[in-house]
Amino acid sequence: MRSRLPAFEYAEARSVDAALSFLSARGAGAKPLAGGTDLLVAMRMKGARPSALVNLKTIPGLDKIEGREDGLHIGALVTMQAVASSSEVAREYACLAQAASVVGSWQVRCRATLGGNLCNGAPSAETAPPLLVLGAKAAIAEPGGRCQVIDLERFFHGPGATECSQGKLLLEVMVPKPEENLRTIYIKHSPRKAMDIAVVGVAVALSFDRGGHIIKDARIALGAVAPTPLRAREAEESLVGRAFTCDVARDAGRLAAACAKPISDVRASAEYRLEMIEVLVARALTALVDAGRGGQV
């Protein structure tokens, strides 16, 4: 039987300002609490000892998915399950729905939030590669009532470190309206079918010119293969303006692997991860091309 959770001061925020004031008053030991599916495990298993937790779920309005003219606004407190089962997300942002649906278990997805997934700063965060290829932006509240909007690419600083690591709160993620005919896919590679984190995560967004043969836009993002989730720009550039062939896909896979700096750990060796990037990028590209020819992703 495990020991109880360590003691902490607990507060429920009614507003973003109140949460920020609480965090700044309590200092570095205070942490925001969203779904708790990572934080409570870290407190039991990994020695995390926050002196105070401020519950963000009591702040009204942060758990909405809203389609606006400029794109989809997803509140930081929206659960993975809500992202995975939103028809709006599935319709235009397929890779994001796919990623959210393979996080943990159903029980975990019902609690875990999009904001928590991103703010933990895990290199393997499932929702990060899809959001990167979709060109997402993060709205961040700072003490004093300021709010800044940054490209999500600038959000991740390193393992466990993000723009929101100390004293700031992620409010929402904005995903711009995708151009017409943009198709997206997320492939998670892990030894188990469920309840596992990714050994490699690959998201790809692809569109073709009007004739349907020449690649107009290509975006590739990788998870779990570098200190942060990242875009594989050289691989993207190698695709644009070319007709799709198996060789083109394989080259893109090799270039994507060259962007990665994986580590070896209990889940996989660095060498294996590099190999799998090549395989999965080519597989993702092929699946999107097949889908465009009437097949299913």
Binding site: F8, E12, A18, S105, R111, M195
Partner: protein, 170 residues
């Protein structure tokens, strides 16, 4: 409540709604819903396995959604309504899932059964006619150490047929 509702003397008064009943409790912030259910309310049908959100033995429904009660703070659960295995039977009648688990031998040691049944209840509430794949994917977060997944899926599919007015037999 102030802008940030805060606890006093390390304990917070909460009203926990469990199986349609209100419980007035004074809890510490670090008490989990699982521990409060088992140790304060005596509802030991919900099991403690890993206490880390991996095994699903502690699954209860919070506002109709399956959650690992070991990963929910009791103070947090007070914002919703909890349903545990003890709340499934109505007027002394077992829920069709409970009946089917017995009939199909889906229980061996029984430790995973309450969590399995609660997850499957959430599934049948949303998807009255699930496929076997949907059943297996729903219970991906519920471990059965006896390896009885086949009979558990059989029982779930039988319960779904029963709930549609059939007799549970295919």
């Amino acid at each position: 409540m102030s802008e940030t509702g805060r606890c006093q003397n390390g304990k917070t008064p909460i009203t926990l709604k469990v199986n349609g009943k209100d419980y007035e409790l004074l809890v510490k912030p670090n008490e989990t819903l699982l521990d409060v259910l088992r140790e304060r309310l005596g509802l030991t049908g919900t099991k403690k396995g890993c206490d880390l959100g991996d095994c699903g033995a502690c699954t209860v429904l919070l506002d109709g959604n399956p959650v690992n009660s070991c990963l929910v703070l009791a103070v947090d659960a007070a914002h919703g309504e909890v349903l545990t295995i003890e709340g499934l039977a109505e007027n002394g009648e077992l829920h069709p899932l409970q009946d089917a688990f017995i009939q199909y031998g889906a229980i061996q040691c029984g430790y995973c059964s309450p969590g399995m049944i609660m997850t499957l209840k959430a599934l049948l509430d949303r998807q009255p006619n699930p496929t076997r794949e949907q059943v297996m994917s729903a219970i991906a977060g519920n471990l059965c150490r006896c390896g009885g997944y086949h009979k558990i899926a059989e029982a779930a599919l039988a319960a779904s047929r029963t709930m549609h007015g059939g007799d549970g037999k295919s």
